[in-house]
């Protein structure tokens, strides 16, 4: 208790000590900061890529829809009724109507140059039914939803791409989950890296620590400056990666107009994402620095 009060009272002095050590051990400090910098840069880059992969995969999912063909014998009111019933189901995001003649247009168009010659004659007595294009909120359940729609009266066929779409969705999920695991794994590795660097930095100063204890410094009195030093190393090490991410991504976003080659690979807007990432990096750097110091110094506070 007395120790704790003394610790807080001495915070300014500890901070000064931490800063001094950082400057006076310049070679070592530089190496540690460098290690933190490249580790955080790595986390930053991987994080950004992951964000974008997530984003792209959701936008691909957004394009997935169920194509519902209605019986061609029903009238407009009945067709509308089907639309209402679909909307009433779970997992429906949006429903778009396409009339009989719009469907014929589509068919003709799909047959290319020959289309008009082939099918224009059907215009009078359209053999096609009207259709709905249905988008869902949770693509994982698209199969079930399609089945429910099939059960609705006056619905002729329901098409969502079947297995190939479920496969695509599963694939996207795998990519996303794999990506998350990958980022987390890299993150953990990187944090070990920082903690290890801090550990080495402290190892080189074990004599110093033992001298401090010899002279009567309590464990917290010794620990705090080291932890603050770890924090400073983390913070200073975070500067470059943060600046790089902030301006670098902005720059890439600007010169590509927000897309990589095509609309299909559109980039996440810089703003919020970058701010989040920067916060994460600064937090990680400082946090791991502090905790790493705390843990590493432990073994030297025993003699």
């Amino acid at each position: 208790m007395r120790e704790l009060i003394s610790t807080f009272k001495n915070l300014p002095r500890h901070f000064k000590t931490a800063l001094q050590n950082l400057i006076r051990n310049n070679v070592m400090s530089f190496s540690s900061i460098f290690a933190v910098t490249i580790t955080l840069a790595m986390i930053g880059i991987v994080g950004l890529v992951a964000f974008n992969v997530q984003d792209i995969s959701s936008s691909i999912e957004d394009e997935i829809s169920i194509y519902v063909k209605l019986d061609r014998t029903i009238d407009d009111a009945q067709a509308e009724a089907v639309g209402t019933q679909i909307l009433a189901l779970d997992n429906i995001a949006n429903v778009e109507y396409s009339s009989k003649s719009a469907e014929l247009d589509r068919l003709i168009e799909s047959q290319g140059e020959a289309g008009a010659a082939l099918f224009e004659s059907y215009r009078e007595d359209n053999p096609l039914g009207a259709a709905y294009t249905v988008t869902v909120t949770n693509p994982d359940l698209i199969g079930q939803t399609a089945q429910k729609i099939t059960a609705i009266e006056d619905v002729n066929t329901v098409d969502y791409g079947g297995d190939s779409t479920t496969d695509l969705i599963k694939t996207l999920n795998t990519v996303r989950n794999g990506g998350t695991i990958f980022v987390v794994a890299l993150g953990v590795i990187a944090l070990f890296m920082i903690a290890n660097t801090v550990k080495i930095t402290i190892d080189t100063r074990k004599t110093e620590i033992s001298i401090m204890r010899m002279v009567g410094a309590s464990n917290w009195y010794i620990r705090i400056p080291f932890m603050l030093e770890g924090m400073l190393i983390g913070l200073v090490g975070a500067i470059l990666p943060c600046v790089m991410l902030f301006y670098g991504y902005d720059y890439i976003y600007k010169i590509t107009n927000g897309m990589v080659v095509t609309q299909m690979l559109s980039l996440v807007e810089p703003g919020a994402v970058i701010v989040q990432l920067v916060q994460a990096l600064v937090g990680l750097g400082a946090g791991v620095g502090i905790i790493g110091s705390f843990i590493s110094i432990r073994r030297y506070l025993k003699f």
Binding site: N21, M214, S218
Partner: protein, 226 residues
């Protein structure tokens, strides 16, 4: 102040540095410890401030059984003791001033107090003008005097000095010994390990002679001086 009871210290590989040592040193005494090189003098004093623990036997300092102090409490125990290490042990990234001040900072001495006392002590050991130098910028004797200053700056109850004059010329040595005596007169128990025959002979004090891990003689218990 200090009580050893049947203390032995065996390092690994079976090196017996101290054998069944028993002695008592009272508060306020001034004691020399002498002996040939490798006889166990440093081992003896390392036991006192708990750099090492005895293999067998009991070491009691300032009323505490040294081996039983929990690790966390060791620094508090050490605040009672000022130690001049044979190998100095200065903090390499701190200046002379900061090294000496550190012993005061850890016991929460107010800043102006620290400044005053550190300056005084450095003047006392004759290092007033080296206040901002780093240890590696000092000569051997200067480093030794910084170590002395650090040991005495917080007025410890017990002052232990391992060869405090090994790197000093005869004149400076005499000054340092006189300083230790003055500190002793103000009530501090002082224990000095030395090879300096002149020093021991010119100041007739209690002298413990260690030889090959045994107490060979102790003038207070009817042994013989050199």
């Amino acid at each position: 102040m200090i009580r050893l009871e049947n203390v032995s210290k065996t390092y690994n590989r079976g090196i017996r540095a101290l054998n069944n040592v028993s002695l008592t040193i009272d508060s306020g005494e001034f004691v020399y410890v002498i002996g040939t090189t490798g006889s166990g003098k440093s081992t003896f004093i390392k036991l006192l401030y708990r750099e090492i623990k005895p293999t067998t036997g009991i070491v009691e300092v300032v009323g505490l059984d040294v081996a039983k102090i929990p690790n966390r409490k060791v620094p508090y125990f050490r605040r009672n003791i000022g130690v001049v290490f044979q190998d100095f042990r200065l903090l390499p990234t701190k200046t002379v001033f900061e090294n000496v001040a550190y012993a005061l900072e850890v016991i929460d001495t107010p800043r102006h107090e620290i400044r005053k006392q550190v300056r005084q002590t450095l003047d006392l050991v004759g290092l007033g003008e080296k206040i901002n130098a780093f240890p590696h910028e000092l000569s051997g004797g200067q480093q030794q005097r910084v170590a002395i200053a650090r040991a005495i700056v917080n007025n410890p109850k017990l002052l232990i000095a391992d060869e405090p004059t090994g790197n000093l010329d005869p004149d400076t040595s005499v000054e340092i010994i006189e300083l230790l005596e003055k500190i002793n007169q103000s009530g501090t128990t002082v224990l000095v390990v030395t090879h300096d025959r002149e020093v021991v002979q010119s100041n007739k004090k209690r002298t413990i002679v260690i030889d090959n891990g045994y107490i060979d003689s102790d003038t207070s218990t009817g042994g013989y001086g050199i």
